[in-house]
Symmetry: C2
Subunit: 332 residues, 2 copies
Amino acid sequence: MTELRKDPIIGRWVIIAKERGRRPSDFLTLVEEKKEQFSPFAPGNENMTPPEIYAIRPENTPPNTPGWTLRVVPNKYPALRVEGELNPRGEGIYDMMNGIGAHEVIIETPDPEKKLEELELPAIHNVVRTYKLRIEDLKRDIRLKYILVFKNHGHLAGATLKHAHSQLIATPVVPKRVVEEMTGSKTYYKLKERCIYCDIIRQELKDNIRVAFEEEHFIAIEPFAARVPFETWILPKKHMSHFETSNDTELHHLALTLKTVLKKLNRALQSPPYNFVIHTSPIQEERKSYYHWHIEIMPKLTNVAGFEWGSGFFINPTPPEDAAQFLREISV
Amino acid sequence: MTELRKDPIIGRWVIIAKERGRRPSDFLTLVEEKKEQFSPFAPGNENMTPPEIYAIRPENTPPNTPGWTLRVVPNKYPALRVEGELNPRGEGIYDMMNGIGAHEVIIETPDPEKKLEELELPAIHNVVRTYKLRIEDLKRDIRLKYILVFKNHGHLAGATLKHAHSQLIATPVVPKRVVEEMTGSKTYYKLKERCIYCDIIRQELKDNIRVAFEEEHFIAIEPFAARVPFETWILPKKHMSHFETSNDTELHHLALTLKTVLKKLNRALQSPPYNFVIHTSPIQEERKSYYHWHIEIMPKLTNVAGFEWGSGFFINPTPPEDAAQFLREISV
């Protein structure tokens, strides 16, 4: 059982994965990239993952056998588990609870070599539709308060396996960063009676200097206060507080935008490692006028993050206006 | 001139270093470590840095010549500069100001090969005393609101030069992370009329399971909600809100504690890359009952930070209790 622990000063929750505990010597090779010969996610190796939760596969194939085009499995080394009681408790001034939640892996393709953005559009559409389906399923467990959907691509961005996959962590608390976005956008709404993200989209479309890509339903911008070079946000143009309320047309356009933007970043930066995170509203809360779901993509280009995430203070050597211009000019 | 820009949603300030602007192709080699043959910080190369601001050197030696044991110089590629006007302004919904401040480099030793923790105790004492002297000097400029003292050690922790050095960035705004710590500890003080850090020290000394090192004036702990394996905090046992109010005896003990803890981390983790950041009160504010300065050390052992600093959600595979036990048992 892992443990959720709260920093008593600033209220940040951390998962302490006791079961995954390592001796100090285990860390020494972690910064080196493994030479992978073998993918436990490849067809034929279905028995190397926990049994599948969901798959897109021909009707005549049984679960956990080859034939699938997309597979969702529990993480073999889960940060959080569904089984058990939350048991929130204190220890002197400290607060903690059991590591209840879910940790799933979305295997995006059977091909161990293909990247997400190299897949055909319908396959990427399936990936984002699967995010929605998994959120809809998990939100029925009312102990769960938030679902964090993210992708680590490349060793330097924290991916331990090369085979294309994203992850989902459902938590019994709302992460601090989400609370901050909710609070900030609510404050703006109280003042202006407008969604701040809608205002950002309006201003960016008017100024047209930080727009990296635009299509019918989505816009991709380099944010005004970008933390890292080529930080890119994808936002639906229509106001929508919860990712999972996207309809299938919107998900098709999201897939198109994601594919285009990732391919542009690959062309501009020679296929960098990257992370993306879906920022959306807490799952048990009703639709909000003040919050607007979006995806934040962070290419991993520099090593300066260590100090910067420790201090919350970022120095970005590339103005987002320059990055946007590079990305706009790249055809993919 | 760089620009300070504020994220309109959560209020984070970012420095956009336009002058340092790079083409996308410039990033491609950044993740590879440079094979350094040459240190611009070494004695004899004083003309390769901007003229020194401060140095510890024999009385008969002129500035910017060899003979020094410690040197402070402006960063050659400063994120912020002293010259100019702040000129805070808006651009639609966005807020920004000119990059006014200071960015200095503390060259900790003339020896290009020695690490900070390998220096003799009096030399480390000089380093921390220099932090205090530079803060005392810079705080006379009332445009400056905060001074961030930090060290990046090792390429993977963001150091671009191997020669031992720390840095100081003086900012015209208080970084968000500092505001959060001030707000959190103030809320606790209002409730309890006690400093939360003093309470943490009391509980850690009593429990004695997360203490990594203790001496007369300082304690080093693995924090309860550690974000990364072997995250270590050094705190003065006596309540003190501002680092720069430390007297020379306290700075001697800080040097001893820093040397001991860094050597223990080196022994436990085979000399990992690391960052440390001094967390202290805003320089223009009076002494506070609720805030307690300290140093946070983050060894850079895993590559997962990308996603985690993007989402604010951390998974730590090493319980701080285990890390503390390893560190306590190492003799240095």
